[in-house]
Amino acid sequence: MPGSTSSLQPILRQLRRVRRRWNTRELARAALSLAAASGIIGALLVLAALATAPRRFAAAAALLAVAWAASAVTIGLATRRRWLRRRTAHRQVDRHARLGGRLATIVDLGTREDSALRPLLAAESAAILPLWDAERLVPRRAPAGALAAAAAGAGALLAAVALAPTLLPPPGPTILVRDADASRLPMRPGSRTALPRGGAVAEMKSPSAPDEADDSLLGGIADALQYRLHRELWGEAEAVRAQEMARAEEPAPEPAPEPPRADARSRDEGGESTGRVEPGGETGEPEGEGAEVASNGGAPDAGSPDAAGETRSGGGTADGAARGAGTATSPDLYGAPTGVIHRAAAPFTLGLTAKVHVTGGGPRPPTGDTPLQMPDANPALAENPGEAIAVPHAPVPPEFAAVVRRLFEREP
């Protein structure tokens, strides 16, 4: 019995060494494989973020997240399968090193000595120790294939990052204004002259705000991720512009049917909060606060009298004429306003509106005779306008003051 124990000790010691080295390599293989998968998926994610619209990016990001999870699970299972466990390591090493079952047999036998051929088996097992030495069996701690894959993944990610500037969207007609830092306004020289007369103030949503189009958690995460990638790779200004452009390209939701109201129109757009230019507002202020924006700050129900009453800050009439602006121009001439959420630090845009961007020209001026002013449906309201609603003023940088002023100038 002592003889068999002493002959077994070096075998068990070497087996422990092999196990350690083998499992370390498997861990390295798993880590490198995961890095490779992450690199490739990250590269695809970056490309998707730079080249696709938010809605498509959300789908792509979800797919890539699933792919990454599947890769991680696959790598984990493969590592588990190759892992040398204490109880079966001798058999796995025996198979791997093609030892003809000698190692498996001598370890499985343990100290059992019931055969005259046992000493021969022990001697043979000792003789083949160099054949399954840890360094021989596991020559490299990091598998070359996994290392190459990880390098390829990292290369793909770097290539995607390097490609980022080439994927900048072409300059568009959108003017972006930020409340907090107007000096960073990314306005392009060409677009300043292309501003049409009139127009609406459309506030750009903050990137961290919930998406109007896709307000699910996943959509919000994808939106924030895409914005962050844009900001890291293109800079904040380009990121804001890209997001606004992408949003402008998205099809606008169908407006709700307008109720036959004489004094107000519903502004409800699928539950979005609405905002409107106050045409007779403080357009002449030197600080550039030419757009006095009213907001109900909520989401009124379509057709609801309350909602209509809250949104009629401009006093629109049934035929579209703004009460305070005469009858020449409809306040919705350039299309329905986009959602407005006033926040102190939220950037907003003075958009040329989607129609301007899409058609490449400004809206046509009204034609024909000026419609007759309709009689006031509720004169009592004019006499008692009620409590004034405080509305935030959007600061406009000085260099844009003229533009904004022109934008909201009314025809006499």
Binding site: T105, L109, A116, L120
Partner: protein, 335 residues
């Protein structure tokens, strides 16, 4: 046994085995797997049932084997009127020189190292039993006196798969006494040509003895003992036991086994499996058995022990498919 002695013993075993196989192969054209299986059974200490059509070389094979091993050989043609005493021997009255008469035991053909029981299924069950008892006990008892058979004692019984009329099929209990059942296939064109060429000449090839005639029996016994010294781990024993159990229609068995098999292999089948695996290990130069050795002899040692249901016959089932299913199940459980 020191490692050097053990290694020399294994070398001797391999050399002897290869020499006998080669000598038999000089006379018997083809049938190399069958010759190897028969030799494996011989060194495992078991008996072999050979199935083959007439004229295929069964008798020649057995005789050549006996010649190569330098062991005594006898042949017994089983017929329906063969009596047990014709197998085991009987007592006759013999008159001595002084005129006194006494019973003297006259050994039957069973008293040989190598016995060819030709067409064993033609004899009555009673006669078959006489032989099968001798196979199991390695001795015969006649008129209250037990007579040990010469060791090694090796029976090769043949079955003719055709002309089944008037035959007595061997009961399962008797089939179980055979370590292996070997099926002799019909020779190929090339083999048949070589058979015709070598057996129709004036001096057909003969078998030269491999073992010294004086020590052949003891040498054969030594080699048999060496087989039993081969190391088997508990894991391999468990694997062999699992295979045997999975041939029976138990809960753990494959659906196919439960549908087709009425009775699975016996523990004696497990012994045959492990002994055959030990011989395979020695032939590979190893002092230990691996699961692959067990797999290699599973079909030969287990297939003839299975009792199939009518459903199996209706499905045209083959016992070898049952063995395959059992092997697959055992491999899965081994991991």
């Amino acid at each position: 046994m020191t490692p050097e002695v053990g290694a020399a013993a294994i070398r001797d075993f391999r050399d002897t085995f290869a020499a006998v196989r080669s000598e038999v192969g000089r006379v018997v054209i083809g049938h190399q797997p069958a010759i190897e299986a028969i030799l494996t059974a011989f060194f495992a200490g078991g008996h072999v049932l050979i199935e083959g059509v007439p004229g295929i070389g069964k008798t020649l094979m057995v005789r050549s084997l006996a010649d190569a091993l330098s062991l005594s050989f006898s042949r017994l043609q089983f017929t329906v009127d063969l009596m047990p005493a014709d197998v085991t021997g009987t007592r006759v009255i013999e008159e001595g020189g002084d005129g006194r008469r006494s019973f003297v035991f006259v050994p039957g053909p069973v008293f040989a190292h190598v016995l060819l029981a030709d067409e064993i299924n033609r004899a009555t069950p009673k006669t078959q039993s006489a032989l099968l008892e001798a196979m199991a006990e390695q001795q015969v008892t006649v008129a209250g006196t037990t007579h040990p058979l010469p060791a090694p004692f090796f029976v090769l019984a043949t079955l003719n798969p055709i002309e089944m009329e008037g035959t007595y099929q061997l009961p399962e209990a008797q089939l179980d006494r055979f370590v292996f059942k070997v099926r002799l296939a019909y020779p190929s064109q090339a083999e048949l040509e070589r058979i015709l060429a070598s057996t129709t000449v004036a001096d057909p090839p003969t078998t030269a003895p491999v073992l010294e005639p004086a020590t052949a029996a003891s040498r054969a016994l030594e080699l048999r003992r060496l087989v039993r010294e081969v190391v088997v781990t508990p894991q391999v024993e468990r694997y062999a036991a699992t295979i045997v159990l999975l041939t029976a229609p138990t809960e753990a068995a494959d659906d196919l086994v439960r549908r087709w098999v009425a009775h699975g292999a016996s523990p004696r089948g497990g012994q045959a499996l492990l002994l055959g695996a030990k011989v395979r290990a020695l032939l590979d130069g190893r002092p230990h058995v691996t699961p692959d050795d067990v797999d290699a002899v599973a079909h030969a040692s287990l297939a003839h022990r299975l009792v199939l249901r009518f459903a199996a016959e209706a499905d045209g089932a083959d016992p070898h498919r049952v063995i395959d299913a059992a092997l697959a199940g055992a491999r899965r459980s081994r991991g």
